[in-house]
Subunit: 207 residues, 2 copies
Amino acid sequence: MKNIPIASVERVAKYIRCLKHLQKKGEEIVSSKKLAEHTQVTPEQVRKDLSYFGKFGKTGTGYNIKKVVKRLSNILKGRKNWNVCIIGAGALGTALSRYQGFKSAGYNIVALFDKDPEKIGKKIGSAEVYDIKKFSDITKKKDIKLAIIAVPAESIEEVEEYIAKSQIKGVLNFVPVTLNFNTKRKIAIIEVDLAQKLYILSYLTKK
Amino acid sequence: MKNIPIASVERVAKYIRCLKHLQKKGEEIVSSKKLAEHTQVTPEQVRKDLSYFGKFGKTGTGYNIKKVVKRLSNILKGRKNWNVCIIGAGALGTALSRYQGFKSAGYNIVALFDKDPEKIGKKIGSAEVYDIKKFSDITKKKDIKLAIIAVPAESIEEVEEYIAKSQIKGVLNFVPVTLNFNTKRKIAIIEVDLAQKLYILSYLTKK
DNA sequence: GCCAATTGTGAAATTTAATTGCAATAGTTT
DNA sequence: AAACTATTGCAATTAAATTTCACAATTGGC
């Protein structure tokens, strides 16, 4: 895999989600046209996006949903499920740890971290809250490579350090601060700025 | 305003966030170079993005942070703050209603909606949970034009109907289902699919 | 065997983004 | 007040990314 447009990767994740939905409804075969309708893109776009990753369909017939879902999620997620931790056991962190969508996509929340002694030791959903000081140890022991950050903005620098020193490879950041890891190893970062989404939403409503 | 690339709009929201941060630290003037460093883009990009919306800086000096923040957020958000509601008073909806970032960006959560009688009537943060049946009435009464959807996927169609019949103009959707309003009036939609983010994150870590 | 449906994919077209170069301006120094 | 430095705003250009188009090739149904 070399130069796959990131926009295509994002749409592919969307296709997976849609295909799973169709699967639940009992469908087995779908055409690029139908999939496109459900995801609000063009059929050509669907075919193009998929073509970056291989051949998935049967000419004249369409796509076998089950097979495509399996192959695509193998490509994005890999064959194994991931262990994920959440840093920050506040309202947002707690809500995220209970979010079912992660698990059904193959990402298991197996630990939370916080520095508040009140919270440390508690169970939230199926995961325990650990002392952030033990971050490196526990992520190693539990084979955690992905972290979700949901702490107050003031604590972000502290968290950055813990992550930099650990084995974490990817970060999903809900804190409205641009992260800046000073590490040689590359850490993938995805920023989710919720307030920014509202800015853009209100901007769009005026157009 | 005509053909402003959405990528530019998104970066502008990021600039606002960064400028507010600098403002807190007591800075008054910033150059495109400095702002670019903080947001991980190039100075040329910063100037280009801003130029879509007007002139903001003073040649030879830089940008007056306070003024720029004000003008930019006026452009994205408008002059007035927005009233926002959250549909779904579960874990995610509750966490979102407590999220401070919305308020400080000028978006006030003034109501939640749910169909569970257990939840209706309760107060969460500063907002009350209302019966979803009263959606149209209450959003009208409270002058709510933006809605955040955080219900289980099964309930999405029901919610779509309520929104379609209301005065809502923009929707921030956390439910992993592509929305499809059958309305003449245009409703702006932004999708936030949390599981999708993890798919992409794990894909990125492999590159 | 013919017909309609549908995929996969190069090539073209379009859109978006990045780069360059520079005149104009503001503040600072000498 | 002249020279100097820093910096914006823009126009022009180039490059990159993304989308659309067009069609051969294939499949399954009738």
